[in-house]
């Protein structure tokens, strides 16, 4: 059989299995039904008391029982991974024939753990870290240590899926899921592996995380009507809505997928990246890194802006991001932008942070495959500075053969993926 190479002479990388968990539900079917119905998963937080918080809404995943953030991250990753591996029908049970690329949030002890340690010290007032250390020395906290190692999420998932070699755990802030895909694509292209399991998962919507984003004034405070809070690109957008979830993709070389008779769900044609050196939380005012990142992705795919029909926007619903994303898209697409549909899944699922790039890649491929573009909901007041076809409020049937999915994050992280239908 002839080997399938891309325009740069590299192995073509395809997707053969996908899985997803969001606040809308578990699995691709439930998510897709709700997403194309314009349903929101955002709700008032019930996981912890909300007294005294400026933002009291989130897209938490409340149907998965858990003990702490790394535990919830692991469990959602496992659910999404199970769905993806089952769909791909790859490998033997518990033996995936390739490495794991895992996008996940940084891990840290949480307040219940700190309280356990403080109590173990026997002190109840004027507690210092010296006391906490005494508490740690007083008893065996080995299980806590393992759970809160950065490597333990990937370790558990490696055992579950039987992936090969060392799992790579990635954090590039809100671009994490897309970076995980990018690393897997590179590994397949250089012939290091024929297949890879990519998972982006984030279950870190706890009190302190919420407060941190709140203190940076990044979150919507539209607490009264949670489902209307995420309104990307609208004039009255006021911040993003923190959310949880997981997305998983089985990536393979085209040749490997074909040889085993797998159904090809789509192609990862290109990945582009360009870091921003302007500011820790803000984009360069000229949009150059966003523009460069999208152009790099198109070049990597060997296509032009004219070949793209749909943009799955990063579209967080913050005043800054949405403006800069528009500036970037307008520069890259020029007049063709009028012909391109742009929508933000985050209007319904919120910002799933480390998982967003993976979840939105799954939804982008489903958009291409199903010929339906999920809407940007809550679009009631257009921003005169943003002139795009935002697929407002209602899903739309459309033939999409190629789309891009954007992910931008704190720390100047910018990643763009070019996703396409299986070549005819």
């Amino acid at each position: 059989m002839a080997s399938m190479k891309d325009r740069h002479g590299r192995p073509v990388v395809v997707v053969t299995g996908m899985g997803v968990v969001t606040s809308l539900g578990q699995g691709k079917d439930e998510n897709w039904t709700k997403l194309t119905a314009g349903q929101s998963g955002i709700h008032t937080i019930s996981r912890f008391p909300i007294d005294g918080l400026r933002t009291t809404i989130a897209g938490t995943v409340d149907f998965v029982p858990f003990e702490n953030a790394p535990d919830l991250t692991t469990k959602m990753a496992a659910l999404a991974g199970d769905e993806a591996v089952a769909e791909a029908g790859i490998g033997d049970a518990g033996s995936f024939p390739g490495p794991l690329f895992l996008g996940m949030p940084p891990v840290e002890l949480e307040w219940p753990q700190r309280q356990d340690l403080a109590r173990a010290s026997g002190k109840a007032a004027d507690i210092t870290y010296a006391d906490i250390l005494k508490g740690a020395a007083a008893r065996d906290f080995g299980a806590m240590q393992k759970r809160f190692l950065f490597g333990s999420v990937g370790d558990e998932l490696s055992d579950r899926f039987g992936t090969k070699g060392a799992p790579i755990s990635i954090s590039t802030a809100c671009a994490t899921g897309a970076t995980a895909i990018q690393l897997a694509v590179e590994a397949i292209r250089r012939g290091e592996t024929e297949a890879a399991l990519v998972i982006g998962a984030d279950g870190s919507a706890n009190q302190e995380s919420l407060v941190r984003f709140s203190l940076l004034s990044a979150l919507s405070t539209r607490n009264g009507d949670p489902t209307a809070a995420a309104r990307p690109f609208s004039k009255d957008r006021d911040g993003f809505v923190m959310a949880e979830g997981a997305g998983a993709l089985v990536l393979e070389s085209y040749d490997h997928a074909k040889a085993r008779g797998a159904t090809i769900l789509g192609v990862v044609e290109g990945c582009g990246e360009m870091a921003d050196s302007f500011h820790r939380t803000r984009s360069s005012p000229d949009g150059a890194p966003i523009i460069g990142c999208i152009r790099n992705a198109l070049d990597d795919a060997g296509v032009t802006a004219a070949d793209v029909q749909y943009v799955n926007a990063h579209g967080t619903s913050t005043p800054e991001n949405d403006k800069m994303e528009y500036v970037g898209l307008a520069a890259v697409f020029g007049d063709h932008l009028a012909n391109v549909a742009v929508s933000s899944n985050k209007s319904m699922i919120g910002h799933t942070l480390s998982a967003a790039g993976a979840i939105e890649a799954v939804f982008t491929l489903m958009t291409i495959r199903n010929g339906v573009i999920p809407p940007t909901i809550n679009h009631t007041e257009a921003d005169p500075a943003i002139k795009m076809d935002l697929v407002p409020n209602k899903a739309r049937e459309a033939k999409v053969t190629r789309a891009i999915s954007n992910s931008f994050g704190f720390g100047g992280q910018n990643v763009c993926l070019v996703l396409a239908a299986e070549p005819a």
Partner: protein, 403 residues
């Protein structure tokens, strides 16, 4: 379509190194300290975190690499150390301020996370014990007491973010997490990409601050801190084992040979191979993967010209896995953590740097910390095998060679 011949692997050089530790700043300072007397190589802080001890980084003039005061204020110690070391590496490679190179330079950083506000944590813990409505209390105190910018010192990827901002490295930016393994895989992936022409020049490394009660705490949860009198890592397992943590910033510029030659850059050493694995550490699996990784390297080893730069932590089980490899092979070994301290994500990049130092000088450092477990090495050193057996997970190896 015709089958294309795979491109031959390109040679990868280390053309820049930035290293800061308890022993000093830069390779010359490290060479001198390793070769000096006990006061030169043992700089231990036994007081600040007693009964725990740490190897603190030497004082650095941060402004030399991070000139903007606003930038410095936005960082905590591990980010300053890493951003500083990254700047040293870029200077060493002769690419500092060269925007044409920096915009196509790819960055992979191995990072943990970090930094708490220790006073706030203590006040909140005390208050939580006294409060009738602890969850409400926590919300209110967090909203009022947390510094907004502390978040940016806690995010793992913000070391890379700071390097982009301060030094202008923007070709790409990825952060790997996962303790020692993250450091190994950061170097491994950069090298694989360089070999496969997925980029010509890379900045790779990590930073670890040991001078933090919360990092010491993390090891104390598993009772893994060595709080007895200082001893080289090999001597600790017989007495319960344990690490002494060390603050280290370590960055490497890894570059395709042709790219370096074109801009007239000189190699410090050649980075030939990096491998990694993760086993469950049951049934001899970790020992097996270390042997397999060694066997991939050993055919290219020149008899008598190799030194092992070990990442041994002092933790009993991890040291036993590495001894299983080394005891059968009898290659002179240097466990740098005996005096640098264990620097987790930064350990492997630092040991690659020290391996490069030895092969470029053609000589090994003396047994580290005077360890009786490390054999003398008087012959010319041409190759360094760098090992990493993580304190809990991750087994990796690298080969650095003289050019």
């Amino acid at each position: 379509m015709a089958h294309e011949k795979p491109r031959p692997e390109r040679e990868a050089w280390i053309t820049g190194i930035g290293l800061v530790s308890a022993l000093g700043e830069g390779l010359d300072a490290h060479w001198a300290a390793f070769n000096g007397g006990r006061d030169d190589w043992l700089r231990l802080d036994t007081a600040t975190y007693a009964p725990y001890q740490v190897h603190p980084a030497v004082a650095i003039d941060v402004a030399k690499q991070i000139p903007d005061r606003g930038d410095r204020r936005q960082m905590e110690a591990w980010q300053r150390l890493g951003t500083y070391a990254a700047g040293l590496a870029l200077d060493d490679a002769g690419v500092k301020g060269n925007d044409d190179v920096l915009k196509s330079m790819h960055m992979i950083v191995a990072a943990g996370g970090g930094e708490r506000d220790y006073a706030v944590d203590g006040q909140l813990l005390s208050g939580l014990e006294a409060s009738n409505e602890p969850a409400k209390f926590l919300n209110e105190r967090l909203m009022n007491d947390l510094r907004p910018t502390l978040f940016l010192a806690q995010l793992s990827n913000l070391l890379a973010g700071n390097i982009s901002i301060v030094h202008g490295v923007v070709g790409s930016s990825r952060t790997f997490m996962g303790e020692e393994m993250a450091g190994v895989d950061a170097v491994r992936v950069a090298l694989a990409r360089c070999h496969a022409s997925q980029g010509d020049i890379f900045l790779v490394g990590g930073a670890y601050s040991a001078e933090r009660p919360d990092t010491i705490l993390h090891f104390e949860l598993g009772h893994m801190n060595w709080s007895k009198d200082w001893a080289p890592v090999w001597d600790r397992p017989s007495d319960g084992g344990g690490t002494i943590l060390g603050s280290v910033g370590a960055f490497l510029v890894i570059e395709a040979r042709e790219h370096a030659e074109k801009r007239g850059a000189k190699p410090i050493a050649k980075l030939t191979k990096v491998s990694s694995d993760r086993t469950t550490r049951k049934d001899g699996k970790a020992e097996h993967t270390m042997a397999v990784q060694w066997n991939e390297i050993s055919p290219s080893l020149i008899p008598g010209a190799t030194v092992v730069v070990s990442g041994a932590t002092g933790v009993v089980d991890a040291v036993a896995i590495e001894r299983d490899l080394l005891d059968q092979r009898r290659v002179p070994t240097r466990a740098t953590a005996s005096v640098l301290g264990h620097s987790v994500e930064a350990a492997f990049p630092a040991n690659i740097a020290l391996g490069a130092m030895m092969v470029s000088r053609g000589a090994a450092i003396p047994p580290v910390g005077g360890s009786a477990a490390e054999a003398a090495m008087t012959r010319k050193v041409k190759q360094a095998v760098v090992t990493s057996v993580g304190h809990w997970r991750g087994e990796g190896m690298g080969l650095v060679e003289a050019v």
